[in-house]
């Protein structure tokens, strides 16, 4: 199994969810994060003090899928999350040793199906 961690724009979350849904991927976890990268930030002013803000709101998606699904899932996310503008985000894939469904105790691929 692999753990696909996608960092995307908050406004693309709906699209990405739909795309995964179409692929049959049901289980996902979502975290609100902040990200810095090439995308430029903005300046805030509070009573004349300037604050340079370069951590921007992003959404991190975690999906664990079987190895063979990796490519399709990554492509689905890519397609749905892309706007072509700087700041679209990244996808990182790591290897998962074991997955357990807490409710049943199932392990391995069946835990995430």
């Amino acid at each position: 199994m692999v753990r696909i961690e996608a960092i995307i724009r908050p406004s693309r979350l709906d699209e990405v969810k739909s795309a995964l849904d179409e692929l049959g991927v049901r289980g996902i976890s979502v975290i609100e994060i902040k990200g810095a990268g090439k995308q430029k930030g903005y300046t805030q002013h509070y009573r004349g003090s300037e604050y340079q803000v370069n951590l921007l709101p992003k959404v991190q998606l975690i999906v664990v899928v079987r190895d063979e699904e990796q490519e399709r899932v990554v492509e689905a996310i890519e397609g749905a999350a892309r706007t072509g503008e700087i700041g679209d985000g990244k996808i990182f894939v790591t290897s998962v040793l074991e997955a357990i469904r807490i409710r049943t105790g199932e392990r391995g691929d069946t835990a995430i199906s």
Binding site: P10, S11, D14, E32, K34, Y42, T43, Q44, H45, Y46, Y51, Q52, V53, N54, L55, P57
Partner: protein, 493 residues
């Protein structure tokens, strides 16, 4: 389509400008200021005509020296403060309904009206609305310019310092344009908005206030009834909001993203302050601490309670979930509906009006969702426009001189249809509504177009809209985390 709309609008603008010029030249016909005898020609604001009658019962024949009543003054100072508080109340009502990335931008649209309109009102707005009538349309813009002659001596036959009356009316002038903001939040440029409300207050609100309360056509000639601002405040803002929503277009993500309220407790904070302040708005419009004020007070409360209940009842039947937002929306709809009627109807009338306004507004919003033609973001037209129209017309159904003898007395109007007055008053009320609508539509189209030209479009860029107007227009975020450079999530969270 847009081009076609501009043509009649521009014609109307020309006409309006023309008439302004004409009126400005016409000699003052009935200066209501304290300097001249205000007797019969006094501006026919409901309150103006009823309160003094009771207060100055003894020297009734000699209106020469209106005296200040300290009880009335005490009440009207407080009433003015209460209405002032409604604008922040509105800010929170709207702010909670916006997304958190636009929270400050939404709040500012109300707050800035406290800045802009207060000054406009002092410089010329009050004079346009309440100085000596010019052709039934505006007051003499010079007479009270810069609040000249607005001092302790009461206005007309009132019993409170002129300053207080001016201030009380100012708070109405402030909240009305702020009401419009609900339709345009999350995408209108702040600069365009500021300019828009300045012009709108001057060319739409002030003349309308004059026509209804300042001795102009609608109040003094047509003799329509509007106790606390159904036409002046709610219809005018609701209709203008609709027009502006059309001109601006929908928000990015409208229809695809889910644009939900970010903070409903904040919405209820707003509802609480609005409800509280509205007692000043409605009972204060009597301009005296008397029986009519008492009646206006209880009508306001009963209609609001009834409308809040009736809205959640609809939800209860339809979705099995009576919601907090529904309660708040209903309460505001009730407040809107009872506004023109509160000093003219009895408790039964208020209760019925409250119960009926919610289904009407609810249906209007449902219709908006179905039609999906415009994005009146926070339902200004649905609640203030539709609720206001219902209220104005229903005033013609339920008004009764049993509650306020001024109706058939000083105001020269008739009782409502259900109270023996026949259809007469209803028709007049409808006429008043129509005039208001025309003025609001034409005025907003022209001003909106003009402002767009000046500010290079009414809308922010799509990028700015996506990032939220707080950061892009105001350089701040509403909620910050302690983690130094980590600004709060775009969400509340």
């Amino acid at each position: 389509m847009k081009l076609r709309l501009w043509r009649p609008a521009l014609t109307a603008l020309a006409l309006i400008s023309l008439s302004f010029t004409a009126f400005a030249q016409a000699p003052s016909t009935a200066p209501p200021g304290p300097a001249t005898a205000p007797a019969a020609s006094a501006p026919a604001a409901p309150a103006l005509s009823t309160a003094p009658v009771e207060a100055a019962a003894a020297p009734a024949a000699a209106p020469a020296a209106p005296t200040i009543d300290k009880g009335d003054t005490a009440w009207m100072i407080v009433a003015s403060a209460l209405v002032m508080l409604m604008t922040p109340g509105l800010a929170f009502f709207y702010g909670g309904l916006a997304r958190s990335k636009n929270i400050l931008s939404t709040l500012m649209m109300s707050f800035v009206a406290l800045g802009i309109i207060s000054i406009q009102w002092a410089l010329w707005g009050y004079s346009v609305a309440f100085a000596a009538d010019k052709g039934g349309f505006i007051g003499d813009p010079m007479q009270y310019a810069f609040l000249k002659d607005v001092g302790e001596t009461p206005y007309g036959t009132q019993t409170i310092p002129h300053t207080i009356f001016m201030m009380f009316q100012m708070t109405f002038a402030i909240i009305t344009p702020a009401l419009i903001s609900g339709a345009v939040v999350e995408r209108m440029k702040f600069s365009a908005y500021c300019l828009f409300i300045l012009l709108w207050a001057t060319f739409v609100y002030d003349p309308l206030a004059h026509m209804v309360w300042g001795g102009g056509y609608i109040g003094a000639t047509l003799k329509a009834l509007d106790f606390a601002g159904g036409t002046v405040v709610h219809i005018s803002s609701g209709v203008s909001a609709l027009v502006l929503a059309f001109m601006l277009g929908k928000r990015k993500g409208h229809g695809s993203e889910e644009l939900r309220p970010h903070n409903l407790p904040m919405v209820l904070t707003g509802v609480a302050l609005l409800w509280f302040g509205w007692f000043g708005f409605n009972a204060g419009s009597e301009l005296a601490a008397d029986g009519v004020a008492g009646q206006a007070f209880i009508n306001t409360h009963i209609a609001t309670a009834a409308a809040a209940m009736s809205w959640i009842m609809i939800e209860w039947f339809k979705y099995k979930k009576p919601s907090a937002l529904g309660f708040g929306s209903g309460a505001v709809a009730g407040l809107v509906a009872i506004t023109p009627a509160c000093g003219f109807v009895d408790v039964k009338g208020a209760l019925i009006m409250g119960l009926l306004v919610s289904p009407i507004c609810f249906a209007a919003i449902q219709m908006k969702n179905k039609l999906n033609k415009y994005d009146d973001a926070l339902d200004v037209f649905g609640i203030h426009g539709c609720g206001g129209m219902f209220g104005a017309i229903a005033t013609g159904l339920f008004a009764t001189d049993k509650v306020n003898s001024a109706i058939t007395g000083a105001l020269g109007a008739k009782n409502g249809l259900f109270y023996g007055g026949g259809p007469h008053q209803v028709i007049i009320q409808i006429e008043a509504v129509l005039i208001t609508i025309v003025l609001a539509v034409v005025g907003t189209l022209i001003i909106g177009k003009l402002v767009g030209l000046v500010t290079g479009g009414l809308r922010t860029s799509t990028d700015d809209e996506e990032n939220g107007l707080d950061v892009t227009e105001h350089g701040e975020v509403g909620y910050s985390s302690d983690t130094s450079t980590v600004p709060a999530f775009a969400g509340v969270d």
